[in-house]
């Protein structure tokens, strides 16, 4: 089975919903090792995305995702704005013209997102950032696709890997982003961006299922 444009729209709506619900929680996480705005930033960004969705009712997936990217870039600010923005922009580019995504398209999309985040943010795995959710998700997605696992299952393992990756940031020492200023004191706290990334992937699985 494949992910349709409608499922992509449902995905974004669900992301907006979750980020709104988790606004305080994400902000609290950011208060501990950052500047107490991640939930506020993401909520603002996805609210703006939702407002633009109606105008894209008949657009292809690439157009939708590019709109998400530019909207996040122009409304979120902070580190997460350019990073998520670039991720969705690149996701849009590799899905240009598509009205449905098959398993390998999803892998390609995730790979493009990760590349976008790394080109901008210059971070690697284990630096306590959103990549620590995205990278394991991409890895398992890639493997699942090789194993010809079908979509629902692929998205499930993928979101589970993201969730586990996000939870593992608890014990990591931050070397990128704002939490890096805390040095050793960053250990013992979850990375807010990794958690928001895991929500985004969880929402995709939900929207498909």
């Amino acid at each position: 089975m494949s992910i349709t444009s409608e499922a992509i729209i449902r995905w974004l709506q669900r992301v907006a919903q979750i980020l709104h619900e988790k606004r305080e929680y994400l902000t609290q996480l950011d208060a501990a090792i950052g500047d107490a705005d991640h939930g506020i930033n993401m909520d603002r960004g996805f609210k703006a995305v939702i407002e633009k969705l109606p105008s894209l009712a008949n657009a292809d997936i690439g157009a939708i995702l590019k709109m998400v990217g530019t909207t996040l870039v122009s409304t979120v600010g902070g580190a997460s704005g350019p990073l998520y923005g670039t991720a969705f922009l690149r996701a849009g580019i590799v899905t240009t013209g598509k009205s449905e995504l098959r398993e390998n398209d999803v892998v390609e999309m995730l790979a493009a997102m990760v590349e976008g985040i790394q080109v901008r943010g210059k971070a690697q795995a284990g630096e306590k950032t959103m990549l620590d959710a995205f990278l394991p998700a991409l890895d398992v997605a890639r493997q699942a696709d090789l194993d010809e696992v079908e979509m629902a299952q692929l998205l499930n393992v993928c979101c589970q890997a993201a969730e586990e990756g996000a939870q593992r940031t608890l014990s990591l020492l931050a070397t990128k982003g704002r939490a890096s200023y805390l040095g050793e004191r960053s250990v013992g706290h979850l990375d807010p961006g990794a958690i928001s990334a895991s929500y985004i992937l969880a929402a995709l699985a939900e929207a498909y299922g």
Partner: protein, 333 residues
């Protein structure tokens, strides 16, 4: 949370609107894009100087827009970097054909957003150079990390570089001076209390009555370490020592000394710190050539201070002394 605001959502725009109301002779505020632009911009043939960052650091940066300092400032939400579209709007508004310098404090968000803005400006054929300030000695500098934060030096750099640009220097020279100022300046800050982000509604971190944070930035984040409350003399020593070491300041050298309040600390205390700072520098035979004391780069209502020392040469002093007329810094005009 006790603040003189109407709502967390409206504070940034209403504050900008208040600035506009009081300083319409100096600045034009665009509330839509949250940019503050010199009233007489663009100035043909002058290098444009733009800075920006999250709100909550007032008077930085909006209060430094005006003759002899910034041409424009882009303000994000509280503690959140502005977005590239804001820098784009500001760049267009002030470009006088001689190129534009972006003054960026080293935070991932600020750097990334200004970087995207520079790409947009380049696409429009506007020459853009950037300086990333990173003067905070509380943070270890390293190629493999986000590096040191940009704090107090940013204020001094905006003044000196603004003076140079006002005098008609080309983009290359202005950028070089920016690099020199950043290279010769170091800072370190401390907090007696946490600040309270309006949208969060409570203190970002909890501190005991006998505790303080050493090595803080300006975004209400906790510092490098939490230690027992100490005297002004001890605190000043904790801040000055790493600065002097990192700068390798030597007897006979001259500095611009900047004692900055974090927003909630009154001047009477900042002058006590200045007293301790002067004592330490006198002991090392380092001369305070120029100084600045007050709340200039703040973290909302945080109580605490930061100290910045800038090793100055005659040229830096000349452009520090040059006339300036902005809402927050004014002399000679």
């Amino acid at each position: 949370m006790k603040k003189l605001i109407n709502s967390p959502e409206s504070v940034v725009k209403e504050s900008l609107s208040g600035m506009q109301a009081l300083h319409s002779n100096l600045i034009r505020v665009d509330l839509e894009t949250q940019t503050v632009v010199r009233a007489d911009a663009p100035i043909r043939g002058k290098v444009g100087i733009i800075s920006g960052g999250g709100s909550g650091h007032e008077p930085l940066h909006g209060g430094f827009v005006g003759r002899g300092m910034l041409d424009a400032a882009c303000l994000g939400e509280i503690f959140t970097s502005p977005v590239p579209n804001q820098m784009q709007a500001a760049t267009r508004a002030i470009d006088g054909g001689a190129g534009v310098l972006y003054i960026i404090k080293n935070y991932t968000g600020d750097v990334l957003n200004f970087e995207m803005a520079a790409e947009l400006a380049a696409a429009e054929g506007i020459e853009v150079a950037s300086i990333i300030t990173n003067d905070d000695v509380a943070v270890q500098d390293s190629l493999y990390t986000a590096g040191r934060r940009g704090i107090g030096v940013t204020v001094l750099l905006e003044k000196i570089v603004g003076g140079l640009a006002e005098a008609g220097a080309p983009l290359g020279i202005v950028t070089e001076m920016a690099q020199r100022v950043n290279g010769e300046g170091r800072s370190m800050g401390m907090a007696l209390t946490s600040s309270t982000v309006p949208a969060l509604g409570k203190a970002t971190f909890e501190l005991g009555e006998d505790e303080m944070e050493i090595g803080i930035g300006i975004h209400g984040e906790p510092g490098r370490r939490r230690v027992k409350l100490a005297s002004a003399a001890e605190i000043t020593e904790m801040l000055v020592k790493p600065i002097v070491e990192d700068l390798q300041l030597k007897a006979g050298e001259q500095v611009l000394a900047f004692v900055n309040g974090m927003g909630g600390t009154p001047l009477i205390e900042l002058y006590v710190v200045a007293h301790e700072l002067a004592k330490i520098l006198r002991g090392k035979n380092i001369t305070i050539a120029r100084s600045l004391a007050g709340n200039y780069i703040t973290s909302l209502d945080m109580a605490g201070c930061s100290i910045t020392l800038l090793r100055v040469d005659d040229e830096m002093v000349r452009y520090w002394d040059a006339p300036v007329h902005t809402p927050a810094l004014r002399w000679g005009i």
